[in-house]
Symmetry: C2
Subunit: 782 residues, 2 copies
């Protein structure tokens, strides 16, 4: 029996207090201490909240508190079943943190009344373990991300223990199922510990959970198979469960310390807690069993205002926690209850890691100008943008040995960032073979074939005050669409919470993009992640399309310095022209879009046509089209505009980066044709610009969902984004160009056909389209 009678009494009192406060939040808008008999007007008109998971969450919170005090631990608590928001709110109020941060919610009767009333009440707090809840890094609104967040929090935090409660419902999700092997990427010598606690309360909304219904032997085997040492705690008699859970926690924490001391991978412990859903709540309601069944999921008594029997049951239920023993006459928790709670930053709700902005330090960033590609004239030399970036990222890693990581689904080399392996490895903590390439438990590059894990780890890392960059194939970043939503919402909400400090931005580098999928084809082509992100709040979202290596350097430097944004950067990895010197690139990045005079022929005057472009491949095709037009229609005044910051296209009323209308009109004219070659789906450009004066003359080329395994130029032709088609677009839209233009148009049709024929015969691109300069000799080359 690890617990003395006094300890047991305190644990149980604390737990009862948390449960009482949980039920109070769900039901009451008055009479918080039950000083009088419950009446309908004490009951909220709309009964919202999830009771089922709450008693288990509070039981664990109480026991972890005991362990923190006993073993002097630094711990945070990740609540997978975040729908149990009222339970965690209750615990943080008992610890005093809630009152520290929200002084109007005092630890007294008035505060308790406010605490109850505000929960899921208009003008109050939401129902999950949202950003408003002290100590939360994980809302748990969408299920499945708890364990990956927990691991992300533990990386590079050697003194931290991350307790992670996983609901047996969410354990059915893909992201959670993928998270168990995160232990293969954690280095006990350098990282903190994650303690997964699988809470088998048996039910989801209306169904049992899979893990609660498979044989216990299988469940234990599953956890061993995942490399954990599972400890089972099961029961429905509180005193027995208290003793067993306390003993198990002591064992498990000792095991963790031992593995950490030995500084090497071991079989990390985890706990399976099997207790009834809605434990200590009503057993039978309206003749149907509730406690321990799916009926306990949300609000077990649903008609309390109207049904006197339900009202009486609620009162009996709340009184069963013996509130008079838990709170003094003023409504303040008594010493017997609070004796258990840790103090100061030892409280899980006050641990600064759970408010990462408090701990966030600026990255030490080497001067990216020193990594510049020296540009002799626009387009020269050829460079691989991501390879250039790789050199700088290598030195970012060197300069920030424990606060910056790269994340990606096994694509760092494929994305040509492999210079980073001159200084670090891929993190891996299972068997390593001599032939393996840069693999070690100490690596700073997190590669796993799961975008979910990359995203979740990075979110956990950022939420606890560190920095990172996620590189991925553009098409498959859609895998994390829903996760991005949740993070964007977190960022938006935390802007309104004064005690939450800004985090490092969530940075994406999408390099294997839609136009360069030679090895793969149609299934790997989708530039729609940008569209998805742009739906989120303008104050949170940034999208950059640097056209070359130097502008990519400047952009990523900017992103790594920024705070509290989601930055999406799309850039090429293939050899491509370097258009801008570093000083030009910096200016261009700062402006976000601009006229490229050297590619234009309007001499600063009003042009006949604007050729706009965004993205590396569209920029190449646009420059090539402009070159061709300048040679063949020398009287045509062309203006070339490149857009690097997509949000500049929006009105300044719609986005902080939006260009004022006057400036937009000055660049895009008010009445001339604009041919816009865009990296992604054309509709996005229309959507961003439909309010602009000249929108009616805007013609956008982009990805039309056409493609297969073929050559790069064939791919742009399939989608009518190629230089020849852009020339045709200009001729079709600029009035009065005359016969010469008509002949040129026909020539373009022919040359497209001949390029297509050449490619189908030779299996590679027509050599005439190498580069962007169109020389008459080359016209007859093949």
């Amino acid at each position: 029996m690890p617990l003395t009678d006094q300890e047991l009494g305190r644990l149980d009192a604390y737990w009862r207090a948390a449960n009482y406060l949980t039920v109070g939040q769900i039901y009451l808008m008055g009479n918080p201490l039950l000083r009088e008999q419950l009446r309908p007007e004490h009951i909220k008109p709309r009964l919202l909240g999830h009771w089922g998971t709450s008693p288990g969450l509070s039981l664990l919170y109480a026991h972890l508190n005991r362990a923190i005090t006993q073993h002097d631990l630094k711990m945070i608590y990740v609540t997978g079943p975040g729908h149990g928001g009222p339970a965690i709110v209750a615990n943080t109020w008992l610890e005093g943190t809630y009152t520290d941060l929200y002084p109007s919610i005092g630890q007294n009767e008035d505060g308790m009344a406010r605490l109850f009333r505000q929960f899921s009440f208009p003008g109050g707090i939401p129902s999950h373990v949202a950003a408003e809840v002290p100590g939360s890094i994980h809302e748990g609104g969408e299920l499945g991300y708890s364990l990956m967040h927990a691991y992300g929090a533990a990386f590079d935090n050697p003194d931290l223990v991350v307790a992670c409660v996983i609901g047996d419902g969410e354990a059915e999700t893909g992201p959670l199922a993928a998270s168990w092997p995160s232990n293969t990427f954690l280095n006990p010598a350098r990282d903190g510990a994650v303690l997964p606690i699988l809470h088998l309360n048996g039910y989801k909304i209306a169904n049992p959970t899979v893990l609660a219904r498979i044989p216990e032997d299988d469940l234990m085997a599953l956890m061993r198979g995942h490399g954990y040492e599972p400890f089972l705690v099961a029961g429905d008699e509180p005193a027995a469960v208290h003793q067993l859970l306390a003993a198990t926690l002591d064992t498990v924490l000792a095991r963790i310390r031992d593995i950490q001391r030995r500084g090497r991978a071991g079989r990390m412990p985890m706990i399976i807690l099997r207790t009834p859903k809605g434990w200590t709540g009503p057993r039978v309601v309206d003749g149907l069993p509730v406690e321990g069944t799916f009926r306990a999921h949300q609000v077990p008594l649903a008609h309390v205002r109207e049904n006197p029997e339900h009202l009486a049951m609620l009162e009996a239920w709340m009184r069963s926690y013996r509130p008079e023993e838990l709170f003094d006459p003023a409504g303040t928790p008594v010493a017997e209850v609070t004796a258990l709670a840790p103090h100061g930053e030892h409280r899980m709700s006050a641990n600064p890691h759970a408010n990462g902005g408090l701990l966030l330090r600026d990255l030490v960033l080497p001067d990216f100008r020193k990594y510049a590609v020296p540009v002799t004239d626009p387009g020269r030399p050829i460079s691989e943008a991501t390879r250039v970036l790789g050199g700088w990222l290598r030195d970012v890693i060197v300069a920030n040995p424990d606060t910056f990581r790269l994340f990606g689904p096994d694509e760092v080399v494929s994305n040509r960032l492999d210079a980073v392996f001159e200084t670090t490895d891929r993190a891996f903590d299972a068997t390593i073979h001599p032939d393996d390439d840069h693999l070690s438990p100490d690596g700073r590059v997190m590669e796993v074939l799961s975008e979910h894990l990359c995203q979740g780890w990075l979110e956990g890392y950022l939420l606890t005050g560190r920095h990172g960059l996620f590189t991925s194939y553009e098409a498959f970043i859609h895998v994390v669409d829903s996760m991005v939503n949740q993070h964007a919402k977190w960022l938006k909400v935390t802007r309104g919470i004064p005690w939450r400090r800004p985090l490092a931005s969530l940075n994406y580098l999408l390099s294997s993009h839609v136009w360069r999928q030679d090895n793969n084809g149609f299934s790997h082509q989708d530039p729609g992640f940008i569209d998805h992100v742009v739906n989120k709040k303008a104050e949170v979202v940034r999208v950059y399309l640097p056209p070359d290596a130097n502008s990519l350097l400047s952009t990523i430097d900017h992103c790594l310095r920024s705070r509290h944004y989601i930055n999406v950067v799309v850039a090429g990895k293939q050899p491509a022209p370097t258009w801008l010197s570093m000083e030009e690139a910096i200016m261009h990045s700062r402006r976000g879009l601009g006229i490229w005079r050297w590619a234009s022929s309007d001499d600063g005057e009003e042009p006949d046509v604007v050729l706009a472009c965004a993205g590396d491949v569209p920029t190449l095709e646009t420059i090539a089209a402009a070159d061709l037009l300048r040679q063949r229609l020398p009287d045509l005044r062309i203006r070339v505009v490149n857009v690097i910051d997509l949000m500049r296209l929006q009105p300044d009323t719609a986005h902080p980066h939006g260009l004022p209308d006057a400036q937009f009109d000055a660049i895009f004219t008010t009445d001339k044709p604009v041919i816009f070659a865009y990296h992604g789906y054309p509709a996005l450009i229309h959507r961003l610009t439909y309010r602009r004066t000249n929108h009616r003359n805007l013609h956008v080329r982009g990805y039309q969902e056409e493609g297969t395994t073929t050559t790069p130029f064939d791919m742009v032709m399939l989608n009518e984004l190629d230089r020849f088609h852009l020339v045709m677009d200009v001729i079709d839209r600029v009035p009065g160009l005359g016969t010469r233009a008509a002949w040129l148009r026909q020539e373009m049709v022919d040359v497209r056909q001949s390029c297509r024929d050449y490619t189908r015969e030779h299996g590679e691109d027509d050599p005439r389209i190498t580069g962007w300069q169109w020389t008459p000799e080359s016209e007859t080359a093949p």
Copy 2:
């Protein structure tokens, strides 16, 4: 030794032939039979394809062929590592199916030359096991969906064995990790069998895989934990592996038959195949080991055209398969090779289940008119749209006992479709307790807390010629964004493949939508799935927003009859007005959008303002605004337009459902203000309509990414979609309305404030906003 020498010889010959054809596809554009020494001009200019996984895929194909013949099986082959496209193409050519379907690719030297040349070649075939490959239901371009597709294919196909090869890379993905417990939802008495084969070749792109590097005991425990009986086949010596694999397959298939015969859940077998990556390929290239390492992933010899040593190695490699023993002088596979292959529909590449359209039968659909809500006058009675639908769906299930299933993440009851449980259960094949609600191995409702699994099962079910409906929370359907992409691409491509027959559409019913998240709040609010889907090819995508119960019935009936689309339907589950009689609903659904005269006051003349709406909640607010305006500004001519088929808004040049401009202008006018209340992100409406004449006067209200846990009306107010704000919008945009309107506008500001205050005080919506009719008395009610 299960194999005689002759069988072993045939198996090995077949395998060598497949490997030879695989290498040929990756490298050669001439000299397919190596009649002369390889020269650079025989080599493709761009070397694309994934060799690493291919020998394993062909080894399994060969052995499964033997088993099919031996045991007279009906089997299909799901290729998780779909990047091994050339391997599966090679096998289907050896079986003759490829030539059956593509007669120009004969089983002779010329055909072989074409087979080689076309692979990953412009104008040829893509690199994955794409829709062009006979026998494929799973491209495997994006990794992780193989096992869920396999289970989906097996449901209700009792005679089918679905062999599913799972790459150890893709095994790291969330969706694959979530798929193992699919066995808990399969009923061996009624469904077919899935045989998972985990192919541990050890590496991803540049990294080892997790499952290849954990202790073998853990791996076996993991599979046992998932409820399977694992069989390990490991080796790198072909003859030994052949014997072991053949013996294992015989055992495993006997086990499956036994479990099926006993008609109850058993521990289904699975195979772990551990063989070298790029087996039988070059061992060392440029001094670095290749076979059995990550370097074998794609093209092991990368510079064959330029480097004579690589060229010689390629030739030696290809000759190591002894092609002269495999193909006769005409290039036709010899009998020793083809003896092994099954014939006719026993060939996995010719099994009709893998071309589901061949087997697809129309659903027997009860007449939905009989389920109509009788409408007395517009808006009466109140009904719950999905509950009404549930009654019809129940009878759809009755009428189609083995070709229709419902899929959803435990939300059928929450989405109020529970009438289906009057006739069926939820499928579950683990322990069932007496208190469980409608759970049985025979259930037709597939509920699991994983949108990935729901989507993947349904895709597998549809691809093999059946029907289904996926109901989900609107916000979390983003979980499957990337999967929808892949399915949309499959549908698009198969439209161009004559031998592929149309499939039943992929139907979504999103019911717990953005405006009705009382219990949850901000994290559960995202209407952006529509935006995501609209980026896909117009010929594949349909979006419907039925405004009431009767139009929902009509819409879902239409969707279940349709073929080869992705239909997204968003509808409410809460009590709401029924606007349309069934006949009106049918007409309205057919037209896709229309003027609601009974709500309008333009008497068929040119209106002063158009109030448009799409979605149940926006429709309610619009009708309420129109009612208020009719009462308070009786001279104002209002036209109310409801949009049910969102694609009607696009020009007819952009979408087959697009409304011609003249019709659009007739409805939306060419110059009057249009206030459009839309269910989702407003930008989508602009994007669909920016080319319309009157777009400059279009003002859209929708979800602005503002919300929390609050009341329904407070939620629409937070996003300025409420009736009062719509009235303000009208007043702001219709010129010359005078003082009376100015007073009304101020009244709207005040009434919004008073509604907000009421809600914050009472915790529920102001009773004045119940329904949609604004009565002067009620103005002073509270």
